[in-house]
Symmetry: C2
Subunit: 220 residues, 2 copies
């Protein structure tokens, strides 16, 4: 493996980006911004020798990413204490080039490697779940029917230190071979983004309940 | 493991959905519609004992999903001939319930398990890459600077039979505990979707090149 200036910041051998390495970033502001923009992660783990990837919500606090699920669920059992890879990706556009080979997508993505650790302290679990709820709707936790002890017990929270992590980011027009710019075909980007629609009240809402302020919610 | 009516269609033991099993679907029209709506897949595989998940474009033809990458790239080397799990997920909304425990997301997702097989026939590779390009921009392949033999040789295509697959689909308002409907808090759905913006021409486009018809492109 050759090293390039781009490898300089890689925190470990397995996080060195080999392909399209000019798209690599290892700095925490870049990594954190991607994690914070996209709550959906895909977590890879081994179960009975089989690699599995499960879509799961993640949320970040400081140096850690968190996810939650059923205490006795397969994904949570298989990831606790195990080596996992947590990947977050955002598709920003299709990149139409002058040659098929240089088609690409604009994207932001992060991979985090490490051992998943369980959050076992009950108050810490409640604190983290409160943050999860309130990250979608500010102050919503306090308005809800209070969580019960059996509900908290049924819920597992796992976390991963953002230690071994890498990001790849691509934006802008295609990068064609210099000679191909003379080829008379349209090239450019078809931008894609996630948009948040107007809140849809549950038909069973009680009359007069006040809608939470969801106008600040951003994704992608 | 108990069986429910929902397990009836599961093609194998490892594709039986255990959690929220009322969301499970095993029929091909449901699975195919999700795969066709979302080109981004996340593929889990083992590399030197470590589970990894890599975001990658997938496209479907009949009973197979395909993905492509560098012939000598780590992801393509590690997945060829290996047991993989290919997951496609679409986030359709945040579901705000009356209790924290019943918060959820509306989503559509598919998991496919199996051994990845390489497409080795050169003409078949070109045919599949043509489909990939034209799935984004109709008839674009023929307008491009023609692909060269070294480019095709540098490209690997792998595929997976859609044999062992499952889907989970959630839509609609929250499902709260019956007693919680009397709790006076707003509940409902914040819809989220992918939108396609106006095409952004490359500043280096030659004067007069005709923009492809991208108006039909849908995602999500
Ligand atoms: C939306 C989207 C679509 C993509 N579609 C394709 C496709 O169709 N074909 C294709 O070949 N590739 C695609 N990629 C890029 C893909 O994720 C990999 O980066 C690429 O395939 C190289 O994989 P590798 O294992 O050979 O990389 P290597 O460079 O050998 O991986 C080494 C290390 O680099 C880091 N790394 C690799 N990929 C990423 C990443 N995406 N984000 C953050 N860190 C990373 C990890 O730390 C990894 O351990 C896509 C990416 C995104 C986000
Ligand atoms: C956008 C999104 C966000 C999610 N967020 C969370 C979260 O924060 N916490 C959480 O616990 N779960 C979340 N899920 C659900 C998650 O993907 C799993 O379905 C769930 O965690 C149960 O995992 P398990 O391994 O215990 O499932 P099991 O039911 O034991 O898995 C058994 C089999 O069911 C099938 N299966 C399981 N999950 C899926 C799936 N998503 N799609 C298709 N087939 C599937 C597979 O064939 C799998 O082998 C989310 C799903 C999506 C799409
Ligand atoms: C914004 C807040 C939350 C969201 C969006 C959310 C979303 C989800 C999703 C999508 C699942 C997977 C369901 C499935 O398998 O299809 C899940 C599972 C679960 N969640 Fe949450 N959740 C949230 C908050 C909470 C809180 C606060 C608790 C605990 C009080 C909790 C407890 C659980 C448990 C126990 C499961 C596993 C259910 C099972 O598999 O039987 N969640 N959550
Ligand atoms: C719609 C069409 C296509 C899209 C959107 C697309 C997208 C991508 C993306 C996102 C990557 C990963 C780049 C990275 O690692 O950051 C990639 C890699 C690659 N693509 Fe494509 N591609 C397309 C068509 C093609 C075609 C037609 C060919 C061959 C003629 C091709 C050959 C390759 C090769 C060889 C790589 C690996 C590059 C490397 O890692 O060095 N692609 N493609």
């Amino acid at each position: 493996m050759t090293t390039s200036p781009h490898d300089a910041g890689a925190p470990s051998a397995r996080t060195i980006v080999n392909r399209y390495r000019h798209l690599a970033h290892y700095d925490r502001p870049t990594i954190d911004a991607i994690l914070d923009a996209m709550p959906v992660a895909h977590i890879a783990y081994l179960h009975e020798g089989q690699p599995i990837v499960t879509p799961t919500l993640q949320w970040r606090e400081g140096d850690r990413v968190y996810w939650h699920g059923a205490n006795n669920g397969r994904m949570m059992r298989a990831t606790e204490g195990a080596d996992v890879c947590l990947t977050v990706s955002i598709l920003d556009g299709l990149v139409l080039a002058r040659s098929a080979f240089n088609f690409n997508v604009n994207h932001r993505s992060v991979m985090v490697f490490g051992k998943a650790e369980a959050v076992t302290d009950r108050e810490e679990k409640v604190r983290l779940l409160t943050r999860l709820i309130n990250s979608f709707a500010p102050n919503q936790w306090d308005k809800l029917r209070p969580a019960t002890a059996p509900e908290i017990n049924a819920t597992a929270i796992l976390s991963l230190k953002i230690g071994e992590a890498s990001a790849k980011v691509r934006s802008g027009p295609p990068e064609d071979n210099e000679g191909d710019y003379a080829h008379p075909v349209w090239a450019g980007v078809l931008p894609i983004r996630l948009t948040v629609g107007a809140a849809e009240p549950d038909p069973r809402n009680l009359p007069g309940v006040a809608a939470p302020d969801l106008s600040g919610y951003r994704i992608g």
